[in-house]
């Protein structure tokens, strides 16, 4: 049996190497041109999911908002202050007669229990009122009231108002009642207190017009006595009738 020569062995080696080199083609490419868009999209998707999870966790940790007495669909907390403000501003203008300007209007933070004569209807569930009598104004309500009333007079807030106390100067106090939802309009009772037992209370009707609340009906109440509006009236020396 003849042995292979060096040349024959060389040829055999070349054939052998060539026959095996195609095995490399079965390997997956170790490096590929990478498209930066896909990793970025994947990263963005991960961030969106994480943000959603975090938001869900935070929401789950917060207490449910207290159910409102009024229609749940109505954005009550965002408009109550506007309604009260419009009614207070109207009352302040109405009783600001004779060119006498109020130094300020003092608004009670506590919502009155008087519901403009609708107590019976309210209790029967026919109308919705917000907030419940005795509740206090929210910070948002105060801001909205101040925004609406400030053009008439600066607004101060006080914990309580006593109609019998004679407040010094031209600073009337105002007590607002719950807002009654009457469907196409709202009603709210506003008690305007000058002090020393002098006060005027009535129901104001308001309707939303182009995003702002306008008074469409006001109580038929007598004007305050002129002496009550005189400069220098104090609780120690109230004018006649004040």
């Amino acid at each position: 049996m003849p042995k292979l020569t060096d040349a024959e062995l060389g040829a055999l080696l070349r054939e052998t190497f060539v026959s095996k080199q195609d095995l490399v083609e079965h390997l997956p490419e170790a490096t590929k041109r990478r498209n930066a868009v896909l990793p970025l999209l994947a990263a963005a998707a991960v961030l969106v999911v994480l943000a959603g999870v975090l938001y869900g966790v935070q929401s789950a940790g917060q207490p449910e908002p207290a159910p409102s007495v009024s229609d749940a669909a109505a954005p009550v907390t965002t408009v109550d202050g506007d309604i009260w403000g419009a009614a207070i501003a109207m009352a302040a203008r109405r009783f600001q007669s004779g060119g006498v300007k109020w130094e300020a209007v003092q608004v009670s933070e506590q919502v009155s229990g008087q519901v403009s004569g609708q107590v019976a209807e309210q209790s029967s569930g026919r109308f919705n009122a917000t907030p419940a009598p005795g509740e206090t104004l929210t910070a948002l309500d105060k801001r909205r009231i101040a925004q609406v009333v400030t053009p008439v007079a600066p607004v101060r807030f006080t914990a309580s108002v006593s109609p019998s106390v004679c407040a010094p100067g031209r600073v009337p106090s105002v007590i607002v009642g719950p807002i009654i939802d009457k469907g196409d309009h709202r009603e709210v009772r506003v008690t305007f207190v000058l002090g020393c037992g002098v006060s005027r209370g009535g129901t104001y009707l308001l309707r939303n017009s182009n995003g702002s609340w306008k008074v469409i009906g006001e109580p038929d109440e007598p004007q305050l006595p002129a002496t009550c509006l005189m400069d220098g009236q104090t609780g120690a020396s109230p004018g006649s009738g004040c």
Binding site: M1, P2, K3, L4, D6, E8, L9, G10, L12, L13, R14, E15, T16, F17, S19, K20, Q21, L23, V24, E25, H26, L27, E29, A30, T31, R33
Partner: protein
């Protein structure tokens, strides 16, 4: 990583397959070839600023693969127990005698001392002249020839003769 000459990524893309084939001939297995080339690329990446400034960085990478193989085989001998490659016994039933000889040659190559195999691969696969092989391996051309002769002699003795 980008240099003034050629980026590392570009060099990997253009030389990877060729180096894998060389690694396959040296190591005798695909996985061995992958290990070799990946190791070389990892080392080259750390020194790419210097390698990329060479006239022929691809030739340098080839030298790295060869040296890695020689070193790697030494490490295997000292510290690792290589699993035996499954031997495909050549048969003449379904394939020709030449194919049987190629399979036998491949198997015998794996049994050769690493330097002999390297010399045969560089001479008959890379088609390098002996003086270039000597330069690449850092040995004398006469040593290249003696290694090649011993490797060929082993193959000649153990290969079944071609049937007439």
């Amino acid at each position: 990583m980008t240099t003034g000459a050629v980026s590392f990524d570009e060099m990997v893309r253009t030389t990877e397959r060729r180096l894998l084939r060389l690694g396959l001939m040296l190591s005798g297995s695909l996985h061995g070839a992958e290990d070799l080339v990946q190791t070389v690329f990892a080392r080259a990446h750390r020194r790419w600023d210097r390698i990329s400034s060479l006239d022929h960085p691809e030739a340098y990478l080839r030298t790295m693969v060869v040296n890695e193989f020689l070193s790697w085989r030494r490490l295997l001998k000292n510290h690792e127990i290589p699993l035996a490659e499954p031997l495909d016994q050549p048969t003449d039933d379904d394939i020709g005698a030449r194919q049987a000889q190629r399979d036998a040659t491949w198997r015998l190559l794996a049994a050769l001392p690493r330097r002999q195999r390297t010399v045969l691969v560089l001479r008959y696969y890379e088609d390098l002249p002996d003086d270039e092989i000597a330069e690449l391996l850092g040995i004398a051309p006469g040593t290249v020839r003696s290694n090649a002769a011993r490797g060929l002699a082993t193959l000649r003795d153990k290969l079944p003769a071609e049937e007439d």
